[in-house]
Structure formats: C-alpha cells, structure tokens
C-alpha cells in the first residue's frame, strides 16, 4: 500500500518547464530517493508537496488527494535552516510550537531525544556554536519530532564535508532502521542514494521526468565494504551510466516547440 502517490505531476514557471512528468509512489516505512542532476527541479517537487507551489497532475496521500491543509509532511530543507537566535532546544521544538503545543510541553517531548541524536549537553547552545554535522542532526531532530506521516529530506548533507557526510549517512541509516520513517530523499549523490534507499527514482535534467526506477535489494544494516560491496558498486555504476549517458529527453524538445 503506497502512502504517497504522484501521477503525471507537471510544473512550469512561466515558459520554463521544470517538472515534465513525474509519477512515483512511496510505501509505508519505505525510504525512497530521487536522484538527479543539480537544477533538475527536485526541490520544486517538494514545494508542490508542501503547498508552497501549485502544479498540474494528481497527488494522493493514503488514497486521498493532497490539498493545502493536508499536513502530512515534515520538511527538512537543504541547509539546516536553524534559527541563529534560538538555542538548539528551542530550534528543535519549533515545529511543535507552530502546531500550537506549549513551549514547556514541547521541550519535554524533545529533550529525551537529544542523546539519541548525539546532541546531549548542547541543548542551551546556539547553532553557531555547533559543527556542521551536529547542526544537521539538530535539523533532523526538529523534523522528526513533528511526528508527521512522512519525511521530506532535501539534500540534507549537501553542505557537509565528505567525511562528515559519510558519517551522517551511516548514522541516518542506523536511525532509519530503528524508526522506519516513511521518507523521500532528494540528492544528487549516487552513493548516498544507494546507501540509504530501498528504491531510487533517477531523474533526467530539466525538464525533469523519471528515466528509471531502481530497486536496491541490499540487506540492512548497510555497510560500506564487506560482502555487498560488489553488488553496491554494480548498482552505483548502473545509475552513473544512466546519468552520464542520458537518452534524448522526450520532453525537452517539446518544451521549446510548442509556442
């Protein structure tokens, strides 16, 4: 049973086609990635889901059409978007406060999670006092405590250095195994997508359409080396091949001709 389902979603800004034809589904407790080149319009799709933009096509959640007030998603933006003027504790309660939960109750709900997110002892710090990895974990904590049906992760580790990023990917995979969030991840990092996902949608360059759906049957917990290394690199090579040798995009010519 799929929770999120998109059918032929399109979006254009003026005459610029950004999303040509996106159909996808995300099942309950499934970790799905959208992988595509930078500027392919991946973030635009999240804007459609969160109601910041409106496009064409059909979007369903649990079988009912998505409308603006259907608040199903907890959204984690590209940069951590922590508020510099709020202490880490108050940053993580932000979503709960917006939901109308009193500050004290919100804090009580968030506080026990600090240890699991590697942030214990940093509740009273300001974001500027934390390293990039810690800030991202705080941002993820702020996202998951909202207890929405589904997580939308927009290149959450894009701004981190390579070593920190790898550490964060391992940590996220471990966290996901424990919590089994339904998640949709946007990324342009092939390894990240393969390491974290159950399924991957590979997107074309703009105007974006889905060129391939790839299942990642690797066992969890995922590892960087070990027995699955061969299979992992085979999947990575397949995806890289799709991305680097694109078939002619059927939508890009259409986008220019029909005016």
């Amino acid at each position: 049973m799929s929770r999120l389902e998109l059918r032929h979603v399109r979006k254009a800004f003026g005459r610029l086609d950004v999303l040509a034809d996106i159909s996808l589904s995300v099942g309950a407790g499934e970790f799905v990635s959208m992988l595509g080149p930078s500027g392919a319009g991946k973030s635009t799709l999240f804007q459609l889901l969160t109601g910041a933009q409106h496009g064409e096509g059909e979007m369903f959640f649990d079988g009912t059409p998505l409308d603006d007030h259907g608040r199903h998603f907890a959204f984690m933006p590209q940069r951590d978007a922590l508020m510099p003027w709020r202490r880490i504790l108050d940053n993580t309660t932000l979503g709960l406060e917006v939901q109308g939960i009193r500050r004290k109750a919100a804090r009580a709900r968030v506080a026990p999670l600090f240890a699991e997110f590697g942030l214990a002892g940093f509740e009273r710090h300001f974001p500027a006092q934390l390293s990039g990895g810690m800030r991202q974990r705080a941002a993820l904590l702020r996202t998951v405590v909202q207890e929405r049906d589904m997580l939308l992760l927009d290149e959450p580790f894009g701004a981190l250095d390579a070593l920190t990023r790898t550490a964060m990917q391992r940590w996220l995979e471990q966290m996901w195994r424990r919590h089994r969030w339904t998640a949709l991840l946007i990324t342009h990092d092939v390894r990240e997508a393969v390491f974290l996902s159950d399924r991957i949608y590979v997107l074309s360059a703009r105007p974006a359409c889905i060129v391939r759906e790839i299942k990642v049957p690797l066992p969890r917990p995922r590892s960087l080396g070990g027995a699955d290394a061969l299979q992992t690199s085979a999947i990575e090579a397949e995806i890289l091949d799709i991305l680097l040798n694109p078939e002619p995009n059927p939508h890009s010519s259409k986008g220019h001709d029909h005016d």
């Binding site: 940069r79 917006v98 940093f122 390293s131 810690m134 550490a167």
Partner: protein
C-alpha cells in the same frame, strides 16, 4: 582616543602660540574652563535637547516599525509610499526647520517632528531590508510546518531583522541629536541649539564649542547605549565568536 588627544594638543598649541584672538579660536583649555564655569546653564539647556531627541526618536521608531510591518504584509504599498519618504529625505533641514517652528511654535512639537523627519526613513529602510534578509528556507520550512504569514513574521522575519535594526539605530540616534539641535537653532526657549546661537551672537565661540562638546558627549552616550542594547538583545552574536563545539568522530 590617541588621535583625538593629538588633535586637541595641536589645537591647544596653535591657539596659544599663533597669536590668534581667543574670541576667534579659543584654546581647548579655555573651552573646558568656560564649560565648567557655565555648567549649570549647559545642563539646563541640554535637558530640553535630550527630551526632544528621545521623544522624537521614540515617535519615529514606532512609526517606522508600524509602517515597516504594513509594507511587509502589503508589498504594493512599498512602491506607493517609498517615493514620498525618499523625497522627505531630500528636504534641506536648514530651510524646513524655521518653517516647522513657524507652524508649530517654540515648544516641543516642532523639535519632535524634525527629529522624527530625519530618523524615520533610515529606520524604516533598515527594518524592511531586515525582513527581506530572512533566509528563504526558514520561511519555506515554517510554511510547511503550517505557520501562517503572521507566525512566519513573528518567528522568522522579525528576529532576522534585528541586526539591520540595530545598524539603523546606531546611525539614526546620531541624526536625532543633530535634528533636535537644528530645530532649537531655528527657534526655542531653551536647548543646546538656541544656546549655541546666543553664544555665537555674543561673540563667545568658547561657549559655542562647549555646547558642541556637550552634544558630542550626548551623542556618544546614546550611541554607546544602542551598542549595549544590541549586546543584550542578541546574545547569539557573541556566542558565534566562540569556537564551535563537537570535533572528532561526531563532528
């Protein structure tokens, strides 16, 4: 501090040894001496100036804040109103000050108006620019959380504007003192401005300079207060200077 000291020293030496008359250029020592002798009159005249500065500035601050919010919520207003405000900033104070005094008399009112006139626009621009400086992703995230425009304004846009607000405050508070003195210069019963004018007419440049010294001290004090206020209002600014925590495997 050293540069100010050297300047005063050079001035003192020139005034003492060049043979220039003290009614033309008094030495700093004489200015200080006269300031001490006339300190009651100076304090007496500084109080109305301080009052005009603070009340006028409070007015302009409230107006700028209210209007900045209005403009932030209704964008078209910005294009309609800003040209008027920009023109208000091109009015020469020399010409407008006597007119305002003519219309509103010698009381507190014209001073408040002139102070507001010179400080309103910088504060408004600072605030509006500050709201615009809100990180787009914070706004998008808040809306995805279900926050309406008012919540987004309170939670994100207003705090984002604080650094801009304080930058504007530091500039405006110095304009405010100048504006008040100018208004008094154009006509007042009491105040540093009218005190300077009378001293000048009595050929007492030493007393003019003493009054200038008082206004400079007043401006510096107010400036210092805004810096202090900013430190108290934005504790995270200083926290940012400290070393980031969490190095090692967790990074």
């Amino acid at each position: 501090m050293i540069s100010v000291g050297l300047l005063l020293l050079a001035w003192e030496l020139y005034a003492t040894y060049s043979g220039i008359k003290s009614t033309t250029l008094p030495a700093p020592s004489r200015v200080f001496e006269q300031a001490m002798l006339n300190r009651e009159a100076l304090v007496d005249n500084a109080i109305p100036t301080i009052r005009a500065t603070l009340i006028g500035f409070a007015f302009s601050l409230s107006a700028a804040f209210a209007l900045s919010m209005l403009v932030d919520f209704f964008r078209p207003l910005r294009r309609a109103l800003f040209p008027v405000f920009i023109v208000s900033q091109t009015l020469p104070l020399v010409a407008i000050a006597p007119l305002v005094v003519l219309w509103f008399g010698f009381g507190l009112m014209p001073k408040i108006m002139l102070v507001a006139l010179v400080t309103f626009f910088p504060m408004l621009v600072a605030l509006v620019q500050g709201y615009e400086a809100t990180e787009a992703e914070i706004g998008q995230m808040l809306r995805a959380m279900g926050a309406g425009r008012w919540r987004v304004f309170l939670l994100a846009r207003l705090p984002s504007a604080l650094p801009y607000f304080f930058a504007g405050l530091r500039i405006s508070i110095t304009y405010a003192v100048v504006g008040a003195i100018f208004a008094e210069y154009a006509g007042a019963a009491k105040g540093l401005g009218i005190y300077m004018l009378n001293a000048k007419n009595n050929f007492r440049p030493d007393l003019v300079l003493a009054a200038v010294g008082v206004s400079a001290a007043l401006t510096l004090t107010l400036f210092g207060l805004t810096v202090l206020l900013q430190r108290l209002a934005m504790p995270w600014e200083r926290a940012a200077g400290q070393h980031p925590a969490g190095t090692g495997p967790w990074r």
